[in-house]
């Protein structure tokens, strides 16, 4: 069996599959990628038992062969080869011979592979009720809310992004770690039956984000406890998080008594400077709102303090001071592309809302830090 193909295409596909493999895997079979060469394509797959990925690329071969090989090492040698075509041959003992097809480099590299053994079969994309959505839209949705999900896996329902469609043509992504929440809704053309919603694990969301590009459509579906993504030549299957996503609608304030409009970039700059004078994990700053300005104050013993004034437009004459985690603010402000941001407030112990002025469908909620009032 011999196959000729472009080395960069192969390298890219191997890297896509290999990225799901955990370097900490004990199971040796799963630390390899599975290569299926048949007729006119190569299919490369990998899994860590929770997340499976398979990607295909065109290549004409004389015969069929199935083997596994260490994806990182395979990609590494390809990376070091000059641009252009290479030929690959796999013998009966699964020795993979790689030869650059250029006259400049006379070389032969042989990578040790193994047979398929008990490499698990990765299920095919489940077509029923699949949602079709613009890659750029899904990418934007995930990117804008992912920061709010919990990194730790103690409460699994917070360690992911919740996808739901509770009214026709509307697709919503929500993430929360119970102290803050971000949600975004977008319009989709086709009907989605996802009224109960599913929680996609954080690791899967990150993988999907890596695969999504700015053009073309992608597909998404759910079957039992698994979710499926089909993005260009790559399919991804993952478990979904078992458990009930909290009732997020209940905690999003319907109406805030005070609404303040601020220039986004100005606020980002001020908060970034204030962050220097805060300490993890609370990163506490105090926001003093009045009718036409906002004073951002950070005060940390043994560290220093800062105050900075920013012009605002407010619908209220009342003064209000709120303690808040500056990092949480930064995380969400970074995702706001519009010129100005609308901040909603009701009281010291009530949730703070942030929303781009021109995009009411992207909303973030942050719970304050309780402060002693003077």
């Amino acid at each position: 069996m011999s196959i000729t193909l472009d080395k960069e295409m192969l390298q890219k596909s191997i890297t896509i599959a290999d990225s799901v493999i955990s370097s900490k895997n004990v199971n040796t079979v799963l630390s390899n990628c599975l290569f299926k060469i048949s007729g006119n394509e190569i299919e490369i797959s990998a899994t860590d038992n929770e997340l499976g990925i398979k990607t295909r690329l065109d290549a004409v071969s004389g015969s069929d062969v199935i083997f596994t090989a260490n994806g990182k090492r395979f990609a590494n040698i390809l990376k070091e080869l000059p641009k252009g075509e290479i030929s690959i041959e796999v013998n009966a003992g699964f020795m993979i011979s790689i030869k650059p097809k250029t006259n400049d480099l006379k070389a032969n590299y042989t990578l040790v592979g193994t047979g398929k053994d008990d490499f698990p079969e990765i299920p095919f994309f489940f077509e029923d009720n699949a949602v079709e959505i613009d890659q750029s839209v899904l990418k934007d949705m995930f990117r804008k809310v992912i920061h709010a999900s919990a990194l730790d896996t103690i409460k699994p329902v917070f360690n992911g992004v919740y996808l739901v469609s509770d009214s026709s043509g509307k697709f919503t992504a929500v993430a929360t770690d119970s102290r803050r929440l971000s949600m975004i809704s977008r319009h989709v053309e086709n009907e989605i039956s996802l009224t109960d919603g599913v929680i996609i694990p954080l690791k899967t969301v990150n993988e999907v984000l890596r695969l999504l590009s700015s053009g073309g459509m992608c597909r998404f579906s759910v079957l039992d406890n698994q979710c499926f993504f089909k993005i260009a030549e790559t399919e991804l299957v993952s478990r979904i998080v078992d458990g009930q996503f909290p009732n997020f609608k209940q905690v999003v304030p319907k109406q805030q008594s005070t609404s303040v409009i601020i220039e986004t970039q100005r606020l980002v700059d001020a908060i970034r400077r204030a962050l220097v004078f805060t300490r993890e994990p609370a990163n506490k700053i105090v926001l003093h709102f009045s009718s036409n300005n906002l004073v951002i104050e950070a005060r940390t013993p043994d560290l220093g303090e800062s105050t900075e004034e920013v012009q605002v437009e407010s619908n209220s004459k009342d003064k209000i001071s709120i303690g808040i985690n500056a990092q949480f603010l930064m995380d969400t402000l970074k995702e706001i592309d519009s010129h100005s941001v609308k901040i909603g407030l009701t009281g010291q112990m009530s949730p703070v809302t942030l929303c781009p002025e021109d995009d009411p469908d992207f909303l973030s909620v942050i719970m304050p830090i309780q402060i002693k009032t003077a």
Binding site: D152, I154, S178, R179, P246, P281, G323, V365, I369
Partner: protein
């Protein structure tokens, strides 16, 4: 440059020496403190070996079965940590009486910064002699002391003349003093590092000092620069009296490799219980919980989880460790050792500045948390009074079975 006087004091074969001190019949005989050797089939390792036992090639961290084979007639004793701590406290008090700038490195060794104490205790050598004499008269034990202008050389020097030794490296003589010593004597150069140095043809500290710093850094990264600096007799690190604890850990080696999940999880429960109690006692919380697991064949793995909120209750630590354990695919292999370590230690957050929660705390959850917290407190005080016989696991055994 500061001309400091740094002493490294290291007790000689500490655990074994305490045993010989408490039982005159053991004096002059090979004594091994550690796991039960079970006539050569025992597991676990040597904690300490007396100098008489070292003559048979026995050393600490050696598998106990090997020690038994080397000298079956040695006195094999289980450790009595309580007693060692008692004596350690005495020794640390002696150090304090010489200088307040004292940094304990472990139960039986410490750095002392005696810079500017010349009027009080005499020359550096005289100071060291006075400390050794004080230890001998107050505890009956011997220590070895290294004296130098920095920590690294003092630590190396205390090793050179063991037991009951005293080695002084005079100021200005650092490089000459270090040069003939083997590279492995460098503080921080482990087995792997020494192997790398050897492949580069560097066998003595002098070789390392004379080598090219840039190429060392290229091969070994930061460690390369660090070793090169130490080899050239430079070490600016201060003796830190208010040394902060960075981690807590507990582990168990099984008598026989086990594949019994129930037993492993019960062990984790014991470990989480002990660990969290130690943490509560020191008034700290932790952010990271690591599971350590050693399989048959000695392959060791660690799995860490970092939490969003710092914790110190038994349940959170146990749940985190259990989650890591259940996720760990050991491919049907049996387990030799299991342990938990906690890092990212910090003081509990200021309660007057509480981060509010979006979903509040549902009453049941709040009650549950409260219940567990009061159970923790109750158990802590029970153990304080009745010792380790009271454990959460023993209390829960009846409920589960």
């Amino acid at each position: 440059m500061r001309n400091r006087t740094i002493l490294h004091v290291d007790m000689d074969a500490f655990y074994a020496a305490v045993e010989q001190l408490d039982n005159p019949a053991l004096r002059g005989a090979p004594v091994v403190v550690g796991a039960d050797p079970r006539k050569g089939s025992g597991r676990g390792v040597v904690s300490a070996a007396s100098y008489e036992a070292r003559a048979y090639g026995i050393h600490s961290a050696m598998p106990i079965s090997m020690a038994y084979k080397a000298c079956p007639s040695a006195h094999f004793l289980p450790p009595r940590f309580h007693r060692y701590h008692e004596i350690s406290t005495k020794i640390m008090d002696i150090f304090y009486s010489f200088t307040p700038v004292m940094e304990p490195l472990s139960i039986d060794e410490a750095f002392l910064d005696c810079t500017g104490c010349g009027k009080l205790w005499g020359s550096p050598r005289e100071t060291a002699e006075k400390i050794k004499a004080a230890i001998r008269s107050e505890t009956g034990l011997t220590a070895s002391v290294g004296v130098a202008t920095n920590k690294s050389i003092a630590k190396i020097a205390s090793e050179l003349d063991k037991p009951d030794g005293l080695t002084v490296c005079d100021p200005g003589n650092e490089r000459e003093f270090l040069a003939p010593l083997p590279a492995k004597a460098l503080w921080g150069a482990g087995k792997k590092t020494v192997e790398v140095l050897h492949t580069m043809g560097l066998r003595t500290i002098g070789d390392v000092a004379a080598s090219d710093r840039a190429s060392l850094e290229k091969i070994m990264g930061k460690m390369g620069t660090h070793l090169w600096t130490l080899a050239n007799g430079i070490d600016d690190r201060d003796v830190c009296p208010d040394w902060e604890r960075k981690s807590f850990s507990e582990e168990t080696t099984f008598e026989q490799d086990t594949g019994d999940d129930a037993r492993l999880e019960l062990t984790l429960m014991h470990l989480a219980d002990t660990l969290s109690r130690r943490m509560r006692k020191s008034g700290l919380t932790c952010k990271t919980v690591s599971l350590k697991i050693r399989l048959e064949g000695f392959l060791t793995f660690t799995r860490s989880r970092t939490l969003d909120e710092p914790v110190n209750d038994t349940r959170s630590i146990l749940d985190t460790a259990l989650e890591a354990f259940r996720k760990f695919d050991r491919e049907g292999k049996r387990v030799r050792l299991i342990g938990i370590a906690i890092t990212g230690l910090q003081e509990p957050e200021n309660r007057t500045e509480r981060q509010l929660d979006l979903f509040g705390c549902p009453q049941e959850v709040a009650d549950d948390v409260k219940k567990h917290r009061s159970a923790d407190t109750l158990l802590d005080s029970l153990k304080e009074r009745f010792g380790d016989k009271v454990t959460r696991a023993t209390l829960l055994k009846d409920i589960h079975s």
